[in-house]
Every structure is written in C-alpha cells, then in structure tokens.
C-alpha cells in the first residue's frame, strides 16, 4: 500500500511514463480505491494532455532581423567615431591634470590676492596721506606768498 501523499507525488511520473513498472502497478492499485487521488490523477493527465497538444507559435518572419537591427542601432549609438574618441581622451586628460593643479594653487592664489588687496588698501591710505600733505604744502606756499 502507498499513502495518498506518495501517490499524488508519483502521479505526474505515471502520466509521463517515467515511473518504474513496480511503482506504477502499486500506484494504479491505489488509484482504483482512492477517489481523491483518482481526481488528482484525472486533473494531472488532463493538464498534461492539454499541454502536450498546445502548439508552439512562431513570431513573424522578420523577427530575428528586427532584433539584430535594434541591437545594431543600440551598439552604433554607444560607439564613438575616432575623432570623438581622441577629443574625449584629451578632454579627460586635461580635466585630470587640471584638478590637482587647481587644488594645489588655489590657496596660493587666494593668499596672493589677499596680500594684494591689503597692499592696495595700504597704498590707498598712503596716497590719501600724501595728498593731504601736498595740499597742506600748497596752501602753505600760498599762505607764504600772500603774506
């Protein structure tokens, strides 16, 4: 005797003809007495029959050509012309060289700029003083002349 669980697990193999004859005979015996397993067997064989008779459909004749066309279109888009490749390599190299240069010189440039700004301010102040002195001198001369 075999259990219902085993019987239902072996049903598919019996239908597909892959079950050993000894097991197949035991399963057939079980199916004659068990209604539930018989129903399982009937449905399984119905599905297998329907599946076996279901046709395979073929895509339109130009299917492969269309796929190849779409694939070639994609790869052509992804590919660059030699001139574009050279331009891209040069641009990347310049960008790569410029980045550390920029990073290294930015503090120097900033410092120089601050120093220059300070010097300019100092110069402006000095020129103001000089202008005042000159003005005083001019007025002084003028005062001397008139007296």
């Amino acid at each position: 005797m075999i259990s219902c669980g085993t019987a239902q697990a072996l049903t598919g193999e019996l239908i597909r003809g892959t079950l050993e004859e000894k097991d197949a005979a035991r399963l057939r015996g079980h199916l004659q007495t068990c209604r539930e397993c018989r129903a399982e067997f009937d449905l399984e064989s119905r599905l297998v029959r329907t599946g076996a008779r279901a046709p395979v459909y073929h895509p339109p004749g130009d299917f492969a050509a269309r796929v190849v066309e779409r694939w070639q279109g994609e790869t052509a888009k992804a590919m660059l012309s030699p001139a574009e490749i050279v331009r891209k390599v040069l641009a990347d190299a310049l960008k790569a060289a410029y980045a550390p240069l920029y990073a290294a010189y930015v503090p120097v440039i900033r410092e120089t700029w601050t120093t220059l700004a300070g010097a300019r301010e100092a110069l402006r102040e000095a020129s103001g003083v000089v202008r005042e002195v000159l003005k005083d001198l001019m007025w002084g001369r003028f005062v001397l002349k008139t007296t």
Partner: protein, 160 residues
C-alpha cells in the same frame, strides 16, 4: 536566437494574449539577453534563463497594462489567444478548451507555474529558476492552482 525565438514568443503570447505585444516583448527579451549575456554564468540552461527574462518582461507589461489600461483591455483575454481561436474552431476539443479557459483565468502567480510546468514541460527546478522562486514555492503554487482548476472545472461540469 532562432532556436529559442518560438519558445519565447509562445510564452509571451500566452502571458500577454496579444500578438503584437508578444512580438515586441520577445524582441525586448532577446535585446535584454544580448545586453546581459556577460552575466549569464551557465547556472541554468539558456532556455530557462531566457524564460526568466520573458516572465519578468511580460509581468512588467501586465502591471503597466493594469496601471494604464488600454481601451481594448475589456476584451476577453482567453478569446483573443490563438489557442482559444484554434480550439473554438474544433468542437471535438471541448475538454481541452475548458482546461485552457480555466488555466488562463488563474491569477498570474498560479498561472505561470502551470504554463511552464505543463505547457513548456519544465521540471520543478527549471520552473523555479524561471520564476525566481524556490522549488517548494512552485510545488505549493501548483497544488493551489490545481485546487482552483478542479473547482472551476467541476463547477463548469455541473453547469452543463
């Protein structure tokens, strides 16, 4: 590609029930396969791998269809399938037609294991790989799918 194109197209057609969309989906499947061919490690057969891509592509399209329904989506999906047309033209195939109708009306998560196992003749392991789920889950879904099919077929049998 020529070796598997019909198999991929047939599965797409059975999942989408629309010849144009199935053709487009099958093209996308092969393009996706070509794009990621370098990722194919040979852990499963090429056919199983292609079927997995097909299932993913068609499921995405089905979800898209649910989100943005087309005007013709009210049509009966079973009737628009070439299998249904073939079966309808031959009254001798009543049992087959009924089975088909019942299978195609199953929810997608139950319909796919049935299609792969019985219509593509996949093993449990191949079905699991194609669907990206475990073998145990395949067995559970098939068990539930068969319970639903039995109920549908008994109900129809009772009606007649």
């Amino acid at each position: 590609m020529r070796r598997y194109q019909s198999s991929v197209y047939t599965l797409a057609l059975r999942m989408l029930s629309d010849e144009d969309e199935a053709g487009d989906a099958a093209q996308t499947v092969f393009l996706n396969a070509l794009r990621s061919l370098h990722l194919f490690r040979g852990g499963s057969s090429l056919k199983t791998w292609l079927h997995r891509i097909t299932v993913n592509e068609c499921s995405a399209r089905t979800k898209m269809r649910k989100r943005f329904p087309r005007p013709s989506s009210d049509d009966d999906p079973v009737a628009s399938l070439p299998d249904a047309q073939r079966l309808a033209s031959d009254p001798a195939n009543d049992e087959e037609r009924e089975t088909w109708n019942a299978v195609l009306q199953l929810p997608e998560s139950y319909r796919l294991p049935v299609l792969l196992r019985y219509f593509e003749d996949f093993s449990y392991e191949e079905t699991a790989r194609a669907l990206g789920i475990s073998v145990d889950t395949v067995k559970i879904r098939l068990f539930r799918a068969k319970a639903m099919l039995r109920a549908t077929l008994v109900e129809r049998g009772g009606e007649q």
